[in-house]
Symmetry: D2
Subunit: 405 residues, 4 copies
Amino acid sequence: MIKLDFHPAGRHFLQIPGPSPVPDRILRAMSYPTIDHRGPEFAALGLKVLSGIQKIFKTTQPVIIYPASGTGAWEAALANTLSPGDTVLMYETGHFATLWKKMAEALGLKPEFIGLPGIEGWRRGVQADAIEARLRADTAHVIKAVCVVHNETSTGVTSNIAAVRKAIDAAGHPALLLVDTISGLASADYRHDEWGVDVTVSGSQKGLMLPPGISFNAVSKKAIAASKTAKLPRAFWAWDEIIEMNKTGYWPYTPNTNLLYGLSEALDMILDEGLENTFARHQRLAAACRIAVKAWGLEVQCADPDVFSPVLTGVMTPEGIDADAVRKTIYERFNMSLGTGLGKMKGRMFRIGHLGEANDLTLMATLAGVEMGLKLSGITIKASGVTAAMDYLSNQKIPALKIAA
Amino acid sequence: MIKLDFHPAGRHFLQIPGPSPVPDRILRAMSYPTIDHRGPEFAALGLKVLSGIQKIFKTTQPVIIYPASGTGAWEAALANTLSPGDTVLMYETGHFATLWKKMAEALGLKPEFIGLPGIEGWRRGVQADAIEARLRADTAHVIKAVCVVHNETSTGVTSNIAAVRKAIDAAGHPALLLVDTISGLASADYRHDEWGVDVTVSGSQKGLMLPPGISFNAVSKKAIAASKTAKLPRAFWAWDEIIEMNKTGYWPYTPNTNLLYGLSEALDMILDEGLENTFARHQRLAAACRIAVKAWGLEVQCADPDVFSPVLTGVMTPEGIDADAVRKTIYERFNMSLGTGLGKMKGRMFRIGHLGEANDLTLMATLAGVEMGLKLSGITIKASGVTAAMDYLSNQKIPALKIAA
Amino acid sequence: MIKLDFHPAGRHFLQIPGPSPVPDRILRAMSYPTIDHRGPEFAALGLKVLSGIQKIFKTTQPVIIYPASGTGAWEAALANTLSPGDTVLMYETGHFATLWKKMAEALGLKPEFIGLPGIEGWRRGVQADAIEARLRADTAHVIKAVCVVHNETSTGVTSNIAAVRKAIDAAGHPALLLVDTISGLASADYRHDEWGVDVTVSGSQKGLMLPPGISFNAVSKKAIAASKTAKLPRAFWAWDEIIEMNKTGYWPYTPNTNLLYGLSEALDMILDEGLENTFARHQRLAAACRIAVKAWGLEVQCADPDVFSPVLTGVMTPEGIDADAVRKTIYERFNMSLGTGLGKMKGRMFRIGHLGEANDLTLMATLAGVEMGLKLSGITIKASGVTAAMDYLSNQKIPALKIAA
Amino acid sequence: MIKLDFHPAGRHFLQIPGPSPVPDRILRAMSYPTIDHRGPEFAALGLKVLSGIQKIFKTTQPVIIYPASGTGAWEAALANTLSPGDTVLMYETGHFATLWKKMAEALGLKPEFIGLPGIEGWRRGVQADAIEARLRADTAHVIKAVCVVHNETSTGVTSNIAAVRKAIDAAGHPALLLVDTISGLASADYRHDEWGVDVTVSGSQKGLMLPPGISFNAVSKKAIAASKTAKLPRAFWAWDEIIEMNKTGYWPYTPNTNLLYGLSEALDMILDEGLENTFARHQRLAAACRIAVKAWGLEVQCADPDVFSPVLTGVMTPEGIDADAVRKTIYERFNMSLGTGLGKMKGRMFRIGHLGEANDLTLMATLAGVEMGLKLSGITIKASGVTAAMDYLSNQKIPALKIAA
C-alpha cells in the first residue's frame, strides 16, 4: 500500500503553472456531502456557479461547464462548431497550441498552422497581422475558424486577443474565433464578450485554484448558430441540451458535484477579492519574478514585454545546462516543483508558476528556492534576484490586510 | 451568497442509486494537496490506481481512467471501436439503455434497438436468446457491436452478461460486446475477462463511493484491435496514447488528481473488505429491501427474481399515486432523497439506493423513512416492511465487526 | 502502525450519550488554519463565541470557556467558590453525581451526599423537598453550596432545577447553587439566569456536538462575589483573569483555537435551527425511544415521567441478562455503540443516546439495531418497538425541510 | 455572522513561536469520526499515543496526557508533587518562567525567584551554578523543588537542563527537578530520563504541530513517590488514577478524542522523519535565521551562543523603534504573523518562530517578509539577511527528498 498522505517535513511548494496549489478553503468545500443532482438543493448550486462563472469570463452569454478536464473542452469547442474536413487556422505559440492542432487533425479537421519560425514563435505572442494577411487571402472563406491560445502555458506568453479580433474584422472574414485561455482565466484579464470571442475554452486547475476535472466553453450567438449545422459527431460535448437544462440549474447527465462545490467557493474567493485586484496581484508577482530572472542574468523565455504572462515565467537556462537537472536539484533539496520545458524547449527552460493562491511571500520562497538551486547546479548568477524582487515588491502600494468580519 | 454547507438537524440520507454517499474517508483522501501530474509522486499514485482498478473489473487487460463523468465513457466505448454508419445492436432494458442508444445516433451510428414491448422490457433483464436470434439472422455481419446495460439504474435489473456472451458465441458472430456497468461495478459481481466483454464502461459515483467525475473503459485485445481501424473521430477519448503513457503511471493530459486520491482510497476500502464480501453485503441489503416492499404489498419493478439488482430496488406505487409526491413527502419530512422514476416509469415508481457505503442500519433507517412516508402519503400498507426486513437481517450470519489494528 | 482511519463497510452509529456524533460541518470548521491567539482575527472569534454561548445558557452573565474537558469545569466550579473544609450538599442522582462528590472530597471539601436509597435514587430526579428540609435544618449555614446534576447521563433523568432553586429560597438559605448540565446543555431546556443558578458546569461533547476538550462555567454575581473570598487554591481554573481578558475577546493563556472554530460553527447551527426547535426535536426523539422500549416490554431506567431525559434513555435488561453482552452483540453485528451501565447499574442497563446531530431516521436506525440485537441476545420482546416508534413519529407535525438559500 | 473561513489571497504565514502551523495531514486526522472513549477502538488509539509520546520525551516512565492546554500541565506538575506552603526554587529566564512563578504563588506555594538582574537574565539561560549555590545553602532542605524553563518562548533561549541536574546532584540536595519544555518538545533535543527530570511539562501546539488543547506531564519514580504525600488539593490533575487506567489505553474521564487523533498522526510524522533529523532541521533553520539577523545589523535577544533556541529567534529592534509597529506593518502588508515582545521586552523585540512544519523555503519566505518589513518601517539594514541565509542554507548537506512508497 502506498502512502498518499505523505509530507516530508514542511510544506511542498507547487510552483508549476498548474495545477496550482488548491487553497484549504476550496478543499474543505469539496468535502461537503455529495447531494442528489436531481434534487432541489442542486439547482441552487447550479444556478450560482453558472452565473458566477460568467463574471469570470466577462460574458453574458452561456458558459458550459463540463465534468471533464481541459483537453475535453478543446475538443468540445471544435466538435460543436465545425464539420469534418473543415479548414481551421491555428497559430503556433508553443506546445499547447501544437497539441490543439494535433487534436484538430485527430478529429478530421484540416488545421493550417502558422507562426514564426523555430523557437522564435515560442518567444512571442500571436502575430495578428499574419492572421489578417492569411484571412484576406482566403477570399473563398475556406477557413472556418481561427484558433489561438491566450496564455501559452509552455512559454509564459499572453497573446493579445483583442488584436486577433481586430485582424479578423479588418479582413472582413466570417471565421469563428476560438480561444484557449485554460491557464489564463482568472489570472490574466480576459473579456469574452468585449473581444468578440466565439468560443473560449478554459479549465479549473489554474487561476480558479481547483483540482483538475472541470472545464468550460464560453460561447457566442454566432458559435451557437454554427453548432446547428456543424457536422462533427458529438454527444457528451454537445452544447444544446446542456444549455437548455442549465436554465433550471441542472445538467442532462451527472455533473461532478464536489468539484462544483469547489468552483462555488473559488468564485466567492475571487469575486470577494475583486477580479481586477486578482489580476493586479498576478501582474505584481510576475513583474517581481521577471526582475529576479533579469538580476540572475538569465533570459525570460518571452521576448516581447508586451505579452509577458502574469501566470508563469519561463526561464531559459544557459547553454549546456540541462534545465531538468536544475529542476531535479530544486525538487530534491528544497521540496519545490517547477514546470519542465515542453516540446521544442525540452531541457532548455524551466517554468515558474505564480498563479492562483500566490502572494508576495510564497513568491519570495519560490525565488529563494530557485536562486539557491541555480547555485547548487553550478550556474553563476550575476546578482541576487531575490533582493531585486524584494526591492520591487516593497515599493508596491497595496491595501493593508483587513480582517473579515 | 448561497450557503452550501447547510445541514438541517441531523444527517441527510442520500438513498438514490447514485451518486451514493461518499464516505468521510474518501472525502478526506480527496483533500490531499494537489501534486504535479508530471512529478515523481504522481507515478506511484497512477500505477497504484491503474493496477487496483483491474481487480475491481476482474481483468488483466488495460483499464482506461477518464477525467470525465460516466456519460463520457459511453462515448469513449463507441468512438474507439466503431465507424460512422456502423450498425450496433442495443437492448432496451430501461432509461439508461435508451440514452445510450440516443448517444449512438448522435454519433452517427445506426443502433438497432430491441427488447420486450412497453414497460415489460423495463421489468426484465436482457433476453439473450433474442440477441442470439438477431445475430444469427445477420449473416452478413453488418452488426458491429452488441451493447447492453449490466445494471439498469432506472429499474433495478441486473442482466446476465455471461448469457449475452454465450448468445454471441452461439451465433458465431464477430460483433464486439460493449457493456455498461456504471451502476453495477463494485456492488454487483462483474467479470470483464471471464465474460469476454470487449469494452466495459463504468463510473465513479456508485459502488466506488466517489463523487462523480471519473469514468472507465476496460478493454479487450479484440477491442484494441478494432480501435486501430475504427473511423469515428476521437481525441480526448482515444485509448492508444493513454494506454501507452499509463505504463509509467502518467496520462497524456491532466488527470483529475484529487479524484484519483479518492479512487485510491476507495480501492483500499473495497479490497480490504474483500470484493466478494462487498457483493454479499449488497445482496443481503437488497434482499431485505425487497422483503420490505413485498410486506408493504407493493410491487418491485423488476419482475424476474433471477435479475434483481443488488444496487437498488425500484418500487411501483399503486395506481393513482404519484410516486414523486411520495418522494417529496419523504424528502421534506424525513430528510431523505430517493430516486425518481425515469422515462416510461415517470411518476409510477421510486427507486431506493442501497449501494456503496451502506449497511444494515442505514438500510433500516431508509426503510423506516419509506414506510412512514407511504403512510403519510395515504398509501395503505399490508404489513410493516420494516419488521419483515429486521426478521430477515437478524437471521443472516455475518462476521463480527473487528477492530483494525 | 495502527490504522485510525478505518471504517468497516458503512457508517458507525455512535449512539452513546456523548461524545455525540460530530457533524461534518463542525469537523470542517475545526480544520480552519490555527491562528495567532494574540492577533486581530482572534478577537473576532473570541467575542463571537463568548456572546453566542450566553444564549445557549440563557444568561447575560459571563460564561468562562476552558480549554479542558468537562471534569475540569466541575473542579473549576468548586475551586472558585469554596474554601478547604467547606460543607457542600450534594444530591445522588447517579454515577456522575457520585463522581462529582468524590471530586469534592479529593479537593478537601466535606460533601454531604443525600438521596433516595439504593437504585431508587438512580431512577428519579433530585427531590427538592429533601434539599429544602436539609437546608432548613442548617440554621448555622454551614452548608456553603448545593450541588446537583441537571441531566444525569448515567440514568437518563433530567432534574427540575427551578424546583431546587425554590427549595433553597424557601429555606431562606444563602448556599450557592451549583449545577452540572454537561450532558443537558443545548439538548434539554436550561435557564441559568431564570433559575438563579450560581455556577453552571457544562462541556462540549454532548448537545454542542463538538469533540471533547472544551468546558464551561456560567456564573452569577453571587458566585463571583464568593470567588473573592474562596480559599481553595486555583490558577488554571481561576475566573477573574479570564473574565477580565475575555472582555476584548482574548484569554490569559492559550485557548484551544480549533475547538473554538468548532464551537462557533455549533452555535451557528443551533441558533439557526432555533434553540426551542432543538429542544422540541430532542423531546420528540426521546418520546419515540421510550415508546419503543415500552413496546418491547422493557423498563425505562427513569421511573418518573416528569423527569424523562430528552438526551438519552436508559433501558433496563430483564433479570439474568447481562446488558453489556447485549451491547457487545449489537456492536459486533450492527456496528453501533451504546452506552454501558455505570456504577450501581453496571450490567443491568444500557443507554441509548439520541442527542446532538440526531433525527427521526438516525433514531429509527438505532431502534432497529437495538430491536434486532435484543432478539439475537435471546430476549423475547413483547412487540416491535420500531413500529411503535414509527407510529408515534409519523404523527408528529414538524415543519418541512427547507433548502438553505 | 463573522466569517471564519476567510483567506486574503494566498497563504497566511503564521511565524509566531506557537501555536505553530498545523499541517494539513494533522487537520485531516483530527476530522476522523469521534468514537466511544469506552469502546474497543479507543484502547488501540490510547495505547499507541501513550507509547509514542514516551519516545518524544525520551522516557520509559509514564507520560500523562491531559485534555487541557499547557498552562494546566504547569499546575498539574506543582499540584501533584507539592504541599501548601512549600518553598520552590524558580529561575527567571523570561516571561513564561515569571508566569509559572505567579502560578506557584496562586497555588499557595512559596517560590524563590532567582536570576540575573534586569533584562540580562532574559538574554541568557539558567545559571546552573547559581542554583547549586542556593541549594548548598539550603542545608535544611526547605526547598522542595527546582523549577526551570527549558525553552523560554519569550526570549529564544534554550537552557542546559543536564547542567541543572548536575548542579542539584553536586549540592546533594533532594529537591525535585520540574522542567517546562512546552515550546521545546519535539523541536529541541530533550531527554527526560537521561537528564533525571522529575516532572517535564509540555504541550501540543509547538513542536508537535497540533492545535492547543493537549498537555503533558512526564514523571519519574521520585515524582510519583512525592505525589503520595503531596498535600495540594487536586482531582482533575491527579496522576494516580490516570496512570492506572492508562495501562489499558483508557482515561478516567473523557479524553479529547480528536486531538488524540492529531497526536497519533504527529507522532507518525515525527518518528518517520526521525527525532534527530527533526532536531537537526530546527537547528539549521535557526542558524540561518540568526545569520540573517546579524546581517541586518540587529541583535539576537539571546546573548549566549551556547543556548540559542532552535525554536524561535528573538530580534531586538533598534532604540526608538517600536517592535510592535514593525509587526503590524508586516502583518498588514505581507500577511505574516510574528510574535510580540512579552513582559520586560514589550515593544523592544519581536519573535520569529521557525518550528514544527517549517522548512528552508518557509523560512526564506519569512525572512523576506521581515527584511521588507524592516525597510518599510524605516529601519536601515546593514546588509541583506535573506542572501546571507541563502548562502548558509545552500551550503548545508541534507538528504534528498524521497518519495514515500
